[in-house]
Symmetry: none
Subunit: 305 residues, 2 copies
C-alpha cells in the first residue's frame, strides 16, 4: 500500500532532471519526519551530499541508511546510488551557472585562476573575430600565389617576426622555399632579388611599420606577388600589397598588451594560409611532412611511459 504510493510517484517523475528542490517541496508532505530531514539536506546542498555515502548522509541527518534509501526512492530514483549521480549532475550544473564573468579586464590583483580564464576567453574571442573577419577571397588568392611561388620571403619585426618565422618554418616543411627576414636591411637586400613569380609577405599589426613596409614595397616594385597580414588594412602597408589579410584587434589593457592578441590573430591567419597551401600541394606536402616527423624522431629520448 505504501508501496503503491511510491510506485505512482516514481512513475510520475522519471530519473528526474534538475528541479530537485521543487520535487522535495512537492513530496515533502508525504514524507515522514526523518525523511524530510534527509530531503532537506539534499536540496540544500546537492554538491555536498553528492560527496557523501549513504552512511555519511545518514549520520549527517541523524538518521539511518534505510531512511536515506527510502527518501531516494520517494524522490523517484531506484536507489541512493542514482540519487547521488543526479546530485553530482545538479552540482555541476549550478557550478557552471555561477557566471565566471571573465569578460572583465585583467586586473593587477586577479588571482591566477582568473587570469587563466580571462586570457583563454580573450584569445578565443580573438580567434572568432579573426575567422569572421577574414576575407576568404583574398586568402584564396594568397594561397594560390604561395602554392606556385618560386620562393617566398616573409617580413616581420618584433612580435610579428615570430609569426613570420612560424610560417616560414611550416612552409619549408612541406618543401617550399620560404624565408623569414627580421633584419630590415637584409630584408630589403633580399627583396631586390625578387621578381614575378616570387612572393613576399609582410606581417605588421599596426600596418605602418616602416621596417616591414620597405622590403614589401621593393618586392612589389620588382613584380613579386605581395601579401600584407595586418590589423589595419587601411594602413600604409596595404599600398604595396596585392592581397590584404586582415587580423583582428582586441581591446587591450594595461597588463595585456595588444601584441598578445594580435599574435593570436596573426597565427590563425598564417595557419590558414599554410593549410591552404598544403591542400593545394598535397601530393608533395604529405610525404614531406611525414619525412620531417621521421627525421625528428631520433631526437627524442625513447624512454617514454
Amino acid at each position: 500500500m505504501t508501496n503503491d504510493l511510491k510506485e505512482s510517484f516514481s512513475t510520475d517523475s522519471p530519473p528526474a532532471p534538475a528541479a530537485l528542490a521543487a520535487k522535495v517541496r512537492t513530496l515533502s508532505p508525504s514524507m515522514t519526519r526523518s525523511m524530510q530531514r534527509v530531503a532537506e539536506a539534499v536540496a540544500g546542498d546537492p554538491a555536498g551530499c553528492a560527496a557523501l555515502t549513504v552512511t555519511g548522509l545518514a549520520e549527517l541527518t541523524g538518521t539511518s541508511e534505510a531512511t536515506v534509501v527510502r527518501t531516494a526512492r520517494l524522490l523517484g530514483y531506484p536507489g541512493y546510488r542514482d540519487l547521488r549521480l543526479a546530485l553530482a549532475g545538479l552540482a555541476a550544473h549550478q557550478e557552471s551557472g555561477r557566471a565566471p564573468a571573465v569578460t572583465a579586464d585583467i586586473a593587477v590583483d586577479d588571482p591566477i585562476a582568473d587570469v587563466v580564464a580571462k586570457l583563454a576567453y580573450d584569445e578565443q574571442q580573438t580567434l572568432a573575430d579573426t575567422a569572421a573577419g577574414l576575407d576568404t577571397v583574398q586568402l584564396g588568392a594568397a594561397v594560390a600565389a604561395a602554392a606556385t611561388a618560386r620562393r617566398i620571403d616573409i617580413y616581420g619585426v618584433g612580435a610579428s617576426s615570430l609569426v613570420g618565422q612560424d610560417l616560414a618554418q611550416k612552409l619549408s616543411r612541406i618543401g617550399l622555399i620560404a624565408h623569414s627576414h627580421t633584419d630590415p636591411h637584409l630584408a630589403v637586400t633580399n627583396a631586390v632579388q625578387l621578381r614575378s613569380g616570387d612572393m613576399a609577405i609582410a606581417i605588421t599589426h599596426s600596418g605602418s611599420t616602416g621596417d616591414v613596409i620597405e622590403p614589401l614595397r621593393v618586392a612589389f616594385d620588382r613584380g613579386a606577388t605581395t601579401v600584407a597580414i595586418t590589423g589595419r588594412p587601411d594602413g600604409p602597408v596595404s599600398q604595396y600589397a596585392d592581397h590584404v589579410l586582415t587580423t583582428s584587434t582586441a581591446r587591450e589593457s594595461e597588463l595585456r598588451p595588444a601584441a598578445m592578441s594580435s599574435r593570436t590573430s596573426q597565427l590563425l591567419v598564417v595557419d590558414c594560409l599554410f593549410i591552404g597551401v598544403a591542400q593545394r600541394t598535397y601530393e608533395t606536402a604529405a610525404p614531406a611532412l611525414a619525412a620531417s616527423y621521421e627525421a625528428l624522431a631520433h631526437r627524442h629520448t625513447p624512454r617514454t611511459r
Copy 2:
C-alpha cells in the same frame, strides 16, 4: 618509479573539473592499451558510462574491473566511484550546452572558408582545454619564481623555440633578464652559469626532446628553479622540473600537424605566466611596458589614414 610518477600526478590534479576529454588526450600516451580503451569509452560517452558500474564498464570495453579502476586513478580520481560522479556532472554539463559541431577533420578538398572555420574552432577548443587542464598551483609557483629570479633562461627548439622567444621577448619588456636559447650547445653552456635564485624554463611538446632536457637538467643540478612546459607531464623532461605546466594535446590530422595546436596551447601558458609575473612586478612592469611603446613609436610611419 612509474608508480611514483603516477602518484604525483594524481595529486597534481584534484578531483578534476570538466576538461576530461582533454585530460584523456594528454594522458593517453602514457596509458596501456586496455586503459586507453576505457578512457576512450569514458571520453566518448560520459553520460552512458556514468550509468555503468565498474563491472559494466569493464565488460563494455572488454577489460577487467581492475583496469577500469586503474584508469580512473590515472585520470586523477581516487577511484571509480569518483570518476563516475564526475562523469555524471560532465553529462549534465554537456546536456545543457549542445555543441555546434564543426568538429570534422580538415580534408584535402575543403573549401578555404571551411578551413578557416575548422581551424578557428580547433584552436578555440585547444585554448579551452588548456585553460581547464592548467594546474594553477604549479603556475602560481612558476610565476612566483620568475618574478623574483635573477635571470631566466628559456630552452626550446623547433616550433617551441618560437614560443620561447615570445616569452623571452615579453619578459624582457617588463625589465626582467630573460633569454631564449635555441642552440642546444649554447643552452647547456649557459645553463652551467645558473645557480640558486635563477630560473630555467624548458618548452617541449613531446616532453622528450633531448636538446631541451639536457640544459634543463644542468640548470636543475646547479640549483636553479626549473619549469617544464610540456604536453607530456609524464615525460622525461619532468624529472628535472620543479614545476610542470601541462599544455593540451589536440587531435591532429594529416593536414594539421600536432605542432599547430601545441603551439597555441604553449602560447596560452606562456601568456599566463607572463601576466602573472607582470602582476607581481606591477610597479616596475607598467612603466617598462609604457616605455617600450614609446620607444617603438617612431618606427611607425605616421601617415596612417
